[in-house]
């Protein structure tokens, strides 16, 4: 692509006017399957390739093989029709070929992009251990190989399985030390069998499971994983689809399943990290939640503050049945509730429901903020605001809320990071990437300073707080160094 052609796009023109780079924190590769299968064969053998192809999953969605009646009987959720722009063959090829993508970044107005997988996102959630680990290993090797030459402007994300801390640690060691990858994607949750059901009905675990979000009541202690991330200088990021799960499982409408699904998984793991005390125990880590926008996070922060104010340990005395003045309630019932009748008033002590009166509680179980180390309201700000980063697409007007100090708790600015979604359906034309984001300024939803934080400064902080060398050797290195020097 010539420079002259690059200048012709609106995105390129916008970029040319800016004094700072644009970093895309979440582009996507559309994996080139034939190469992936060869890498998978190398990692796990030909048999594994055949098994991968035979699974009901992103290679072949089982939904298409069912009749409408069978879908009703099995309540099989509708997958997305088509994920990638294909009429624009140039875009489709660019999302598969790093060399072409690299050439076209100027057209998109992007200086640097962090590339997430497509099929690879599903690999993290495979229940079959052998398949999961081999698929992740194959994706990581493939990505490392095909992006190596283009490290000045693109870096691929490694997929790190998390069914056990040990498998996460092993893959982290491999991708960082051997493959030299510097960004990682972890699942936001792991589905685990419910032991009491799985004993008698092992097959039922596909449908009846519990969600382990790693921070609270996990099946394992994941602190060694977070410690390993710090040691290896990688910031965990999350990007787990929940379309097809729980309340997003329409048989016929993929939009119904899609809308809000990344926000749902992001909220679960984010809440788990803070309430489970991970951000307290690992204050130097940073976590990113991608493609879910930031609206959910502003709500979550507000709710955590509101609930802490009303339901901290001290405040629980207000609702503790032991605090009730029994004589007074009796008087009030007799004076105002005479219609209930004295016989019923006498029975009340014996007919109290748990919902209205609670069950027997141990004091040790009551301070639900203790693990997070939250003893005053401001602790929530410290454990939430600087630690978390939120991937927002360019056309998402709700991004403005991240910067809205009037509406956010503590007057906080949340760390929104620009995420183009290039390669996927949310960005129909790659050349519109920067221009689409800039529309937030044109609509006066963001100031130019906000925009700089959105597309540059926050993205830099998200990575360099954990790895100061993240952008070393890239074309944004100088700008990053200036930003960090002036911080």
């Amino acid at each position: 692509m010539s420079t002259a052609e690059a200048r012709m796009t609106k995105s390129a023109a916008i970029r040319a006017r800016l004094k700072h780079p644009i970093i895309d924190s979440d582009g996507h590769i559309a994996e080139f399957e034939p190469a992936f299968f060869d890498y998978l064969k190398e990692a796990g053998g030909a048999r594994l390739v055949e098994r991968f192809k035979a699974m009901d999953g992103p290679y072949r969605f089982g939904w298409y093989t069912l009749t409408p009646e069978e879908r009703l009987r099995t309540r099989k959720p509708r997958p997305g029709w088509w994920l990638h722009p294909t009429r624009n063959a140039l875009d489709r090829a660019a999302s598969s070929m790093p060399r072409l993508l690299h050439r076209r970044l100027d057209q998109m107005g992007l200086d640097f992009t962090i590339i997430y997988p497509s099929i690879g996102m599903f690999a993290l959630h495979l229940g079959d251990e052998e398949m999961r680990r081999a698929a992740c290993r194959a994706f990581n090797s493939l990505q490392a190989d095909i992006f190596r030459e283009y490290a000045d402007r693109m870096t691929p994300v490694a997929t790190v399985p998390m069914h056990t801390p040990q498998e996460a640690i092993e893959e982290l060691e491999h991708v960082v030390k051997t493959l030299r990858l510097k960004a990682v994607l972890m699942p936001a949750f792991v589905r685990r069998p419910i032991p009491a059901l799985a004993e008698e009905h092992p097959q039922a675990s596909r449908w009846a499971f519990w969600l382990d979000t790693f921070g609270i009541d996990s099946a394992y202690d994941y602190d060694p994983v977070w410690a390993k991330c710090l040691e290896l200088r990688v910031a965990p990021s999350f990007h787990s689809p929940t379309a097809g799960m729980g309340m997003r499982a329409s048989l016929s409408n993929s939009m119904y399943n899609h809308i809000g699904h990344f926000a749902a998984s992001n909220e679960a793991v984010c809440k788990s990290l803070i309430l489970g005390g991970v951000t307290r125990r690992f204050p130097n880590l940073r976590f990113a939640f991608l493609e879910g926008g930031v609206g959910w996070a502003c709500t979550l922060l507000g709710e955590l503050v509101g609930h802490w104010e009303k339901h901290n340990l001290e405040a629980l005395a207000n609702v503790d049945p032991a605090s009730l003045d029994r004589e007074e309630i009796g008087r009030l019932l007799r004076e105002y509730g005479g219609d209930y009748g004295s016989e019923r008033i006498e029975r009340w002590e014996r007919e109290r429901s748990h919902l209205l009166w609670g069950g027997p509680e141990e004091r040790a179980n009551l301070d639900e903020w203790a693990r997070a180390g939250i003893v005053r309201k401001e602790d929530i700000r410290e454990l939430f605001v600087p630690k978390f980063y939120f991937g927002c697409e360019g056309d998402d007007r709700m991004t403005a809320l991240a910067f809205d100090t009037k509406k956010n708790a503590f007057g906080a600015r949340l760390n929104a990071i620009y995420s183009s979604d290039l390669g996927h359906w949310d960005l129909p034309n790659m050349c519109d990437a920067a221009a689409e984001a800039w529309e937030l300024v044109e609509r006066e939803l963001l100031s130019e300073d906000d925009f700089r934080d959105f597309v540059f400064a926050n993205a830099v902080r998200a990575k360099t707080a954990v790895n100061p060398d993240f952008f070393k050797g890239t074309i944004v290195e100088g700008a990053v160094n200036s930003l960090l020097a002036n911080a």
């Binding site: 034939p34 099929i119 519990w210 009541d217 605090s323």
Partner: protein, 502 residues
């Protein structure tokens, strides 16, 4: 006489300064169990009472407390941590207030509230009881009980009927009873129903209760619920939703109720709101209004943004840009050969020989399956706004800063926020403060006095009065409500023209 403190409360002082009433669209009663259980016995017999007390989904007895830590680990999501205590206790007067309608009634001036719509507490769970007999009996008992105990106080308090909806018929029957017969004016329906997955239930009937799917009543439902919405229209009641999702999905930790609780009403509200819109209910029943309680409004603005983005990039006019049939394979192959090096050049032919995945290169689709906006009748961004904004109302507690989003948001819309005090529940430690907390948004300069009027008066009136113009007849706010409903809504039509003002 006032049962409470003789000094005027902050809420009462604020109310005295206002030139409009304050309507609480979501207060709660805390059911007086001995009386309710007697109603339950009257409706279903003594055996039903014992069964109601024993079943895990009635809320009468939590199983969590009966389990050892080890048993909880074995049962995991089936043994989620329930709440400790839901209701004010230290403030004994407040505790008694929501248990005794007469006391609640007497204290309304202290609360600075003219009129309140009273939701249940343990009754919230009744429409979700899986045992059909207990569900129908409990809902009927709650409705009889509440209709009776609030009957003398209808000028300032009206109770909400709980409507089971596992089938349209049971919803129709209870609507006929509660609204038709008992003249209750407000109703609460479940936001979703858990149903057994047929193919699995047949194989393992004993597991049917665990192997379930979520029926949102509108999209791919097991039944056609249009007769229910039609009945609501006929009986002039606005469906409202207030469904607990603690213990559902990721909100099922064993040890942390706060984790399970945060955001749970928003989760159920999103399910049904999205379903009503996408399933075309707001198109087919344009005169109905729907309310989603105790979840604030931020989730709804976020949902609207998600719908807006999804429609803009995935409407039927754009979908074929994603269709793999439209890929110029020759160009794609050529690019692979020229730019991809041996890795791509030597393998690209395999894409067309079976290596391409459904996810990346897709499968053929029928045109009829592709316009997912068709049931909602959405052809333009304006259609989306018309199907969403005027029909949906969002219950907001007073202290939530993000309530401001209803009035100042990136879409230039005014979303219908309605004040819900949550009086009776653990979010309110001092019932005299609830309305005053809502006014703090004005005091902080975050919303205008006009916005506040919308929140605490105009929107609650439109929610119910828009479906039933007589809703407030005979109440303390009758005249103000009638005047409001007779006047054209200020700014109607202007929303469409508004830009993206923040």
């Amino acid at each position: 006489m006032s049962a409470g403190d003789n000094d005027p409360s902050r809420s009462a002082q604020i109310r005295a300064r206002l030139n409009h009433p304050v309507i609480d669209a979501d207060g709660h009663c805390t059911e007086f169990e001995p009386a309710f259980l007697d109603y339950l016995r009257d409706v279903g017999g003594a055996g039903v009472v014992e069964r109601y007390k024993a079943i895990p989904d009635s809320g009468f007895r939590y199983t969590w407390h009966q389990m050892s830590p080890q048993q909880r680990l074995e049962h995991r999501a089936l043994a989620f941590r329930p709440l400790w205590w839901a209701h004010p206790k230290k403030n004994t007067l407040d505790n008694a207030t929501t248990t005794i309608p007469r006391l609640h009634y007497e204290r309304m001036d202290e609360f600075g509230i003219d009129f309140a719509i009273i939701y249940p507490s343990i009754g919230l769970l009744a429409p979700h009881i899986s045992d059909q007999e207990i569900r129908l009996t409990a809902c009927r008992a709650f409705n009889k009980f509440n209709a009776d105990i609030y009957a003398d106080f209808s000028d300032r308090l009206t109770p909400v009927a709980v409507i089971p909806a596992n089938t349209p018929q049971e919803a129709l029957d209870e609507l006929d009873y509660a609204v038709g017969e008992r003249k209750m004016k407000a109703v609460q329906l479940p936001a979703f129903i858990n149903r057994p997955i047929p193919a699995l239930a047949r194989k393992a009937p004993e597991m049917a209760g665990f192997l379930t799917w979520v029926d949102n009543l509108c999209v791919d439902s097991a039944y056609d619920y249009d007769p229910v919405w039609a009945k609501c229209q006929e009986l002039r009641v606005a469906p409202t939703f207030h469904t607990v999702t603690v213990g559902v999905g990721s909100r099922a930790t064993l040890s942390n109720f706060m984790f399970n609780f945060v955001g749970h009403f928003a989760a159920s509200a999103e399910v049904i709101c999205k379903a009503l819109l996408i399933g075309g209910v707001t198109r087919r029943f344009p005169r109905l209004n729907f309310a989603f309680q105790e979840a604030g409004v931020a989730w709804a603005v976020h949902l609207y943004g998600g719908l807006h983005m999804a429609w803009a990039t995935h409407n039927v006019g754009m979908i074929r840009d994603l269709d793999p049939a439209n890929l110029d394979r020759a160009m794609f192959e050529d690019l692979c050969r020229k730019l991809g090096g041996p890795l791509y050049a030597e393998r690209v032919h395999r894409l067309w020989q079976g290596d391409a995945s459904d996810l990346l290169l897709g499968t053929p689709e029928d045109d009829k399956d592709l316009d997912e906006w068709a049931p909602a009748g959405i052809r333009t961004a304006d259609d989306l706004r018309e199907r969403f904004v005027p029909h949906f109302y969002f219950g907001c507690e007073g202290e939530d800063l993000l309530n401001v989003l209803a009035f100042r948001n990136p879409f230039g819309c005014r979303f219908n926020a309605v004040f819900g005090s949550d009086i009776g529940h653990f979010d309110v430690h001092d019932q005299r403060e609830a309305a005053a907390e809502a006014y703090e948004l004005v005091e902080k300069g975050l919303i205008s006095a006009d916005d506040y009027r919308e929140l605490v008066f105009a929107n609650p009136v439109r929610l119910h009065g828009g479906v039933n113009p007589d809703f407030f007849k005979g109440t303390r706010v009758e005249r103000d409500a009638a005047r409001l409903l007779a006047a054209p809504r200020a700014g109607e039509g202007a929303q469409a023209a508004a830009g993206g003002a923040r």
